[in-house]
Subunit: 171 residues, 2 copies
């Protein structure tokens, strides 16, 4: 159990029975077109594959009543000789934002990453206008290694910069 | 036809009949484990998929006798809202290196990228010890946007830094 500003969440492996709760949460996030590159009109089957089948592992964060309030995946960011660096994606239900759930999931993911023998974690495309995420990753020890000019096509703002974040987990 | 220091190469779309020439060239490159993340012992079927099926397009550079001396692919680097940035991978036959073939292919790929409506080109994992590549991408107008510490597991040197290169093609 991770305490998160009055919200207790427990983080566990995704199970297929979670999908009916996960899909609306992911759809609502991608639809806004301001945080993830996945097309705002992504189809359910494609998202299920991307989020729960392609990654090495997928987790859910559940509130005290067992309801899913967040989710993340972890996977190798590159094949073969780059596969010691992992990549994660995190989503928190809109109604549960601002309560430390993303931070709890990111800390959980770093421990899982080390247990899975990853040596570093990389975020490839953090939208520069997503200030909450930028601040959070920095607070959790990630470094901006560079800025990709106009690499994200924000649904509302047009082309905006994206940041690459990196953190070594094993030195 | 592109003139390249006494070697004339023509660059055209890959055709399935090229594969028997392409595979030894790619295998020899990946085997060294010093430039690409693809596992040094990658299987032929996997490499064929990665290089000729998954990308948006694959090209070959042929010498005057029609023999394949180089190849590159082009694909979107991210889905949906990041899909206006492309990624390319280039390989030149060892015996044909140092004659400007990589430069000719990269210039060709930038024109193709614009024709395919990409707005920028990104290289995600350029091995820092691959000095020839680092110099070449800089000469061709790419910028190092950042350094990923120990992100590449060099077969001979162990963990070495990797660079992210980026070039806007349309501004």
């Amino acid at each position: 159990m991770v305490s998160a500003s009055s919200l207790q969440v427990s983080i566990r492996r995704f199970e297929p029975a979670d999908w009916p709760q996960l899909w609306p949460l992911l759809r609502a996030t991608f639809e806004t077109g301001d945080t993830y590159a996945y097309a705002p009109d992504s189809r359910e089957a494609d998202v299920r594959k991307i989020w729960t089948e392609a990654p090495a592992a997928t987790f859910v964060a559940c509130g005290a009543d067992g309801h899913v309030v967040g989710t993340y995946f972890i996977k190798a960011n590159q094949p073969g000789l780059g596969s010691h660096v992992c990549n994660c994606g995190y989503v928190v239900a809109r109604a549960a934002q601002g309560r430390g759930i993303a931070a709890a999931m990111c800390e959980h993911s770093q421990r899982e990453a080390v247990a899975m023998d990853f040596r570093a974690m990389q975020f490839n495309l953090v939208v520069s206008t997503n200030e909450r995420a930028v601040r959070l990753w920095q607070r959790l020890g990630f470094t901006v290694i560079g800025t990709l000019p106009r690499a994200f096509h924000h649904r509302r703002l047009g082309y905006v910069d994206a940041l690459v974040f990196y953190k070594e987990l094993v030195t």
